[in-house]
């Protein structure tokens, strides 16, 4: 921000973002039209927009989008619920943390796409396995952030609650939830993006519908403009998801974000 209003002329940051985007898209369009890059592999933005309008109006896109949203949504919610719940327990109780930590350390580094076959062996080659592997992928970053979020709460706040005879439910509601929320939201942001990634990945093998399937099919049939439509949609979904979390943190965690010099950051 302008310092103490000394400068009266101020261009907000988003103007630069928009200008940069417009410039890049224009450059891309020009490169394709001028024949500098292959229109087969890098279709022009105008082509991509036209294709997406066609796909949407023909109803070709909707089933894929729905299938993907279902997997991301359900998997993400399950992973988040489990991650937050276990994370709170682990952050709260040193004993639970000591017991569970070795398992987290062992399982977390395994690429979750690599456990997909194992999950399918157990839960069959159906939707359950796909949702589950998405949930597992989202689970870990959310768990780890939640544990950290609970542990970084100033122990004094627990003493304040204890001074007024707070029971576990009240401590949870009045200290742990608000105190860990900034970290939990950061975890949800990472976990949500991981859930997207995992959904697209599992959809590339053995599904009939889904954006991942559409991407892979477009690539195999060299309909690259369809592929780019999918990438665009995923990007828009990502922007939407991150925006929701951003506003949640503005609404509930301003005490953490605003503190200090809120003018220059």
């Amino acid at each position: 921000m302008s310092k103490n209003g000394q400068r009266s002329f101020w261009i907000p940051e988003y103007v630069f973002s928009i200008l940069l985007t417009v410039a890049m898209v224009a450059l891309w369009e020009w490169l394709v039209r001028a024949g500098k890059v292959s229109a087969l592999f890098f279709p022009a933005p105008s082509t991509i927009v036209r294709t997406s309008l066609r796909l949407i109006s023909a109803g070709e896109l909707t089933p894929h989008l729905k299938a993907t949203l279902y997997r991301v949504g359900l998997g993400g919610v399950i992973g988040a619920a489990a991650g937050v719940a276990l994370g709170v327990l682990m952050g709260w109780s040193c004993r639970i943390r000591n017991i569970v930590d070795p398992f987290v350390a062992a399982i977390h580094p395994i690429p979750k796409i690599a456990v997909f076959p194992v999950v399918m062996v157990i839960f069959g080659i159906g939707e359950t396995s796909r949702v589950l592997v998405v949930a597992i992928a989202a689970f870990f970053p959310i768990l780890i952030n939640t544990v950290l979020g609970v542990r970084q709460i100033n122990p004094r706040y627990f003493e304040v609650a204890a001074n007024y005879n707070a029971g576990p439910v009240q401590v949870l509601r009045r200290v742990i939830v608000p105190g860990s929320l900034p970290f939990v939201l950061a975890g949800l942001r990472i976990g949500g993006n991981v859930a997207f990634l995992m959904t697209i990945a599992v959809e590339m093998v053995g599904v009939e519908t889904g954006l991942g399937k559409m991407i892979w099919f477009s690539w195999e049939t060299l309909r690259t403009e369809n592929l780019y439509v999918c990438l665009g949609i995923i990007a828009i979904l990502g922007i939407g998801f991150n925006a929701v979390l951003y506003f949640l943190s503005l609404r509930f965690c301003h005490w953490q974000i605003d503190r200090g010099d809120n003018e220059t950051r």
């Binding site: 304040v160 001074n163 608000p178 965690c253 605003d258």
Partner: protein, 258 residues
């Protein structure tokens, strides 16, 4: 609320081994008594208050509350040295925090909270968050939070420590008035000897390594007492006595000889 500490010992367990912080602390606080504690930094004053509030358990010894079961211990309120305000709550919500936890109804909660926010002079800041307050204002919120539940035992850990000299005098007056109207037992940790003599019925002088009570000084002056500017000869004499003791202890504690 009357209580007695008997042979209280406390050691903290750290990775480098155990350190004994308090050894054989014995003292008694009577109903409606105001006891001040002074002592060198790090001698265990905060630890002692946290023991009395049962936020930590003593290694040995015990604290006996007369004719009172522990179920009543929500009648104890502590003002933390570092304020301990919850950063996600407004001033109002922080002050109301204890009332809500004790199950006081919304209406009563509102009126009592407003009253105490007014008493500490923060009526215009009720909707601010702690990070928007100065340190002295934060400390006053902490004081209001403890007072609003009308505890029978008030444990105050350098409550006026971060206030400027003028506000401090006024807050002392307010506290004196409040206690006059509504007697409680108070344990009041301070580094200000004048304050200790002005407020206390007794002053406990603590010594370090490990923390213990070196001397117990009765302040035989009638309450409420005159302001600092009209100090009696006796008060000054007491202050001098406490300082000579404390100077000793502080020098020992800092390792700086005379």
């Amino acid at each position: 609320m009357e209580f007695q500490c008997r042979d209280l010992c406390m050691q903290y367990h750290t990775r480098r081994g155990d350190t004994v912080v308090l050894r054989d602390v014995n003292f008694h606080v009577a109903e409606r008594e105001f006891v001040c504690i002074v002592g060198p930094s790090g001698c265990g004053k905060t630890t002692l208050l946290r023991l009395v509030a049962e936020l930590i358990q003593p290694s040995s010894g015990d604290i006996v509350f007369s004719n009172r079961t522990r179920a009543d211990w929500s009648r104890i309120a502590i003002v933390f040295q570092d304020h301990g305000l919850l950063p996600w709550l407004t001033v109002f919500q922080n002050v109301a925090f204890g009332l809500r936890l004790l199950g006081i109804g919304r209406h009563e909660c509102q009126s009592r909270t407003d009253a105490y926010i007014g008493k500490v002079g923060l009526a215009s800041c009720a909707d601010r968050y702690p990070y928007q307050l100065s340190i002295g204002m934060q400390q006053r919120v902490g004081i209001a939070r403890a007072l609003v539940t009308d505890p029978e035992l008030l444990l105050m850990d350098e409550p006026f420590g971060s206030l400027d000299a003028q506000t401090k005098l006024i807050m002392q007056d307010e506290l004196v008035q409040l206690l006059h109207a509504n007697e409680k037992s108070v344990v009041f940790v301070t580094h200000d000897i004048t304050e200790a003599v002005r407020l206390g019925d007794r002053v406990l002088v603590m010594a370090d390594r490990p923390g213990h009570i070196r001397e117990e000084i009765v302040v035989p002056l009638a309450r409420p007492r005159a302001s600092v500017f009209a100090k009696s000869r006796e008060a000054e004499e007491l202050e001098r006595r406490i300082w000579s003791m404390l100077e000793d202890e502080v020098r020992k504690s800092l390792g700086i000889g005379e």
